[in-house]
Symmetry: C2
Subunit: 418 residues, 2 copies
């Protein structure tokens, strides 16, 4: 990414009106990269090259490295005179006061924890970009209308304590506090003990007293800069994705039942081959997804009994379908259910039977248009100065997030503007 | 099956010439069924109905029940004055001498061991049909030209000692004696001990001294009556399959490599989805098999990493392809290899790579035309008297065996007639 800017919680018209005043406010790219690499000294792992920065990260939530970078975060924001607080889930909030101190702040942020084999930017970029924005405001002594801040959400990855976005979940009141506190870590320590989240929050000194709830610490808006996790921008040689929402998705487990007959003695037309049927269903789901401009994925498939010269009597596979529109996702599901049934009954020789089990139903989320407009305006401005690498010359693009639903939960919890 | 008769080791012309003399020689169906049920008292298991004969069988090779039925076999054949012998693999041979005692006998037979959840006819019918034939000859005091006998092959199922047709394999010199003797049973006994085949042969008193080799005990021909293991005769409402040979088959393990990207953030056209590719290959293999009048089966499929919302980077699946003709099987394989490559490169979005590993190559076997003719003549004669249940009125049918290769090994070992 060649340049980074943030949208602000202002109406697009306001933003354009005030543009002149902000002309000098540019991110210091060198400082930003330096801050990222400085923070990555805590918990660095998996060296892949000779350069000091050529490592991955293993900064599992609430481990010693996480404790250290949390201290670094606190020092950084306090050096700029931010109001700093920690809630019951260890979420760190830093707010740079604006003229209006009673309105909720516009927050930027992400998470500082990583996967055990994590990279140097996932989450980390979002925090550092927020901090760099505060630094620019601070060095130019800008007084903003409302307050602006940065948040570090605890265990957003869900890699150590197995619930993704658990602490933003508690803040948005989607997850009960006790559920979160009682989560046991995935792996035991060297003494065979699995600690809970609350124990580890206490151990590293981040069990705050502030209630973890958007009611006690409301946001006006939340912006998150994130590296692209899909390959779309890179493929199309664009620089910035302006995310308009999160796609809807559903997870299913589908069981195909046939008959386990012998590969050598059962003629093709006498078969109830559940693997062949499942293969046809997987191919069809992908065709439907393409037609509807959605996504379909089978990530797990099991078959029984599992012998080279015997057909499977049972195949179970997962189906993950996604679409940016709830309605289109419902149509994809409907098409899959109808066409799967047809394949099982009429295109599987002697026929197979199907069972559907829904595992997850996550509706689509549409971000607030003012927030999207603010990001879009910034993206347009930044991209004007850059070399036009994409086929159509446009370097930014509207996108729908394919990632998890933490943001969704938070957005839903945001107080709606009239 | 309404009636049972055997072909004899005679040229069809001879058989027809002598037909008149054999007119009275008919299988005693009641006696045959009685003998089957009598033998099934040794090792009966898995009751499924109230009638005494409504059980399955668990007569694992060389267990106590197998020892008992072997004794019953010996008593039965000796009561008819047969020459009886046991070889180093516990194979039991019973020969009823003909006029010409120097020519090798025509043997009938099968196996008395069963799967742990076996039925009452698989193998058992072949032995009993042979014994019934000897009884008919015996009670009519027929002196045959050559000698005629019955063989019981040890551990033909391979269920207890894990090598199918191992003892006929030693006799045909396809399996070394020591390899067979040293086979350990699949499951340990209550003391945790796994016995070898040799130990168990010794324990039940069936470690014979006769060398286990077709060179020491040659056959003129081998006939086996077997229940149908596929559904073809039943589907077509026919009574007898005249088996002309065994189909060719090959087993492969095919590895599809793609990339494990996220189900939510990877657009369809940017994917290297190894599961989708594998599904297309399985569907295509079945299409090719149908076109070529062969068989294709995928009985095992594994995928990694195995996560609902992540594409598999690697899918490995088995492919079992079969055809009665070696040439057509080679063409099926060629079609699969070419079309699979095309699908992986051109119909899998960003492409997947393929690796083929051949596990088994078992060429087709064609049975001797005189043997087939003898069975066919008997089948025609028997079927004349029965109700014509099939669509075309013919109750017998030429077939190709889809079962394993024990017979192939034995047939290959048979001395060829000029």
């Amino acid at each position: 990414m060649a340049s980074i800017e943030f949208g602000h919680q202002k109406h697009a018209t306001q933003f354009i009106k005030m543009k002149h005043d902000f002309a000098a406010l540019k991110v210091n790219q060198d400082r930003l990269m330096q801050a990222i690499h400085e923070g990555c000294e805590y918990g660095q792992a998996h060296r892949y090259g000779d350069h000091p920065t050529e490592t991955g990260m293993a900064r599992l939530s609430l481990n010693d490295a996480d404790k250290e970078i949390r201290g670094w975060f606190k020092t950084t924001v306090e050096s700029m005179g931010c109001a700093y607080s920690v809630d019951q889930m260890g979420n760190q909030f830093a707010v740079r006061p604006g003229k209006n101190r009673t309105a909720p702040p516009v927050m930027m942020g992400s998470h500082l924890d990583t996967q055990p084999t994590g990279g140097r930017y996932d989450g980390i970029l979002g925090i550092n970009a927020g901090l760099e924005t505060l630094k620019v405001l601070h060095e130019h002594q800008v007084q903003t209308e409302g307050s602006v801040g940065v948040v570090n959400w605890t265990n957003e990855e869900g890699a150590r304590f197995p619930m993704m976005a658990v602490s933003s979940g508690v803040w948005s009141e989607a997850v009960p506090l006790d559920t979160a506190w009682n989560l046991s870590e995935v792996s035991a320590d060297k003494d065979g003990i699995k600690h809970t989240m609350k124990q580890e929050l206490e151990r590293i000194g981040y069990l705050g007293e502030q209630r973890a709830s958007y009611k006690d610490f409301p946001f006006a808006a939340h912006f998150e800069l994130h590296i692209e996790q899909g390959p779309i921008l890179e493929m199309e040689k664009r620089k910035i994705g302006v995310v308009k929402g999160a796609q809807a998705f559903k997870w299913f487990e589908i069981t195909v039942k046939g008959r386990d007959t012998h590969a050598g003695t059962t003629p093709m037309n006498a078969r109830m081959d559940s693997m062949l049927c499942a293969a046809k269903l997987i191919v069809r789901a992908n065709k439907i997804a393409k037609e509807k401009d959605g996504l379909a994925t089978t990530g797990i498939l099991n078959m029984a009994p599992g012998s080279i010269n015997t057909m499977a009597h049972t195949v179970t596979f997962t189906l993950d379908i996604r679409h940016k529109s709830d309605e289109q996702l419902a149509k994809m599901e409907e098409d899959c259910r109808r066409q799967f049934q047809d394949i099982a009954e009429n295109d599987s020789e002697k026929g197979c039977s199907l069972e559907w089990k829904q595992l997850v139903d996550s509706p689509a989320v549409v971000f607030h248009e003012d927030c999207v407009a603010a990001v879009q305006d910034s993206a347009i401005e930044v991209c004007e100065e850059l070399e036009k690498t994409s086929a159509d010359g446009q370097l930014w693009k509207h996108m729908i997030s394919g990632a998890g639903k933490s943001l969704r939960k938070m957005i839903e919890a945001l107080p709606r503007r009239p």
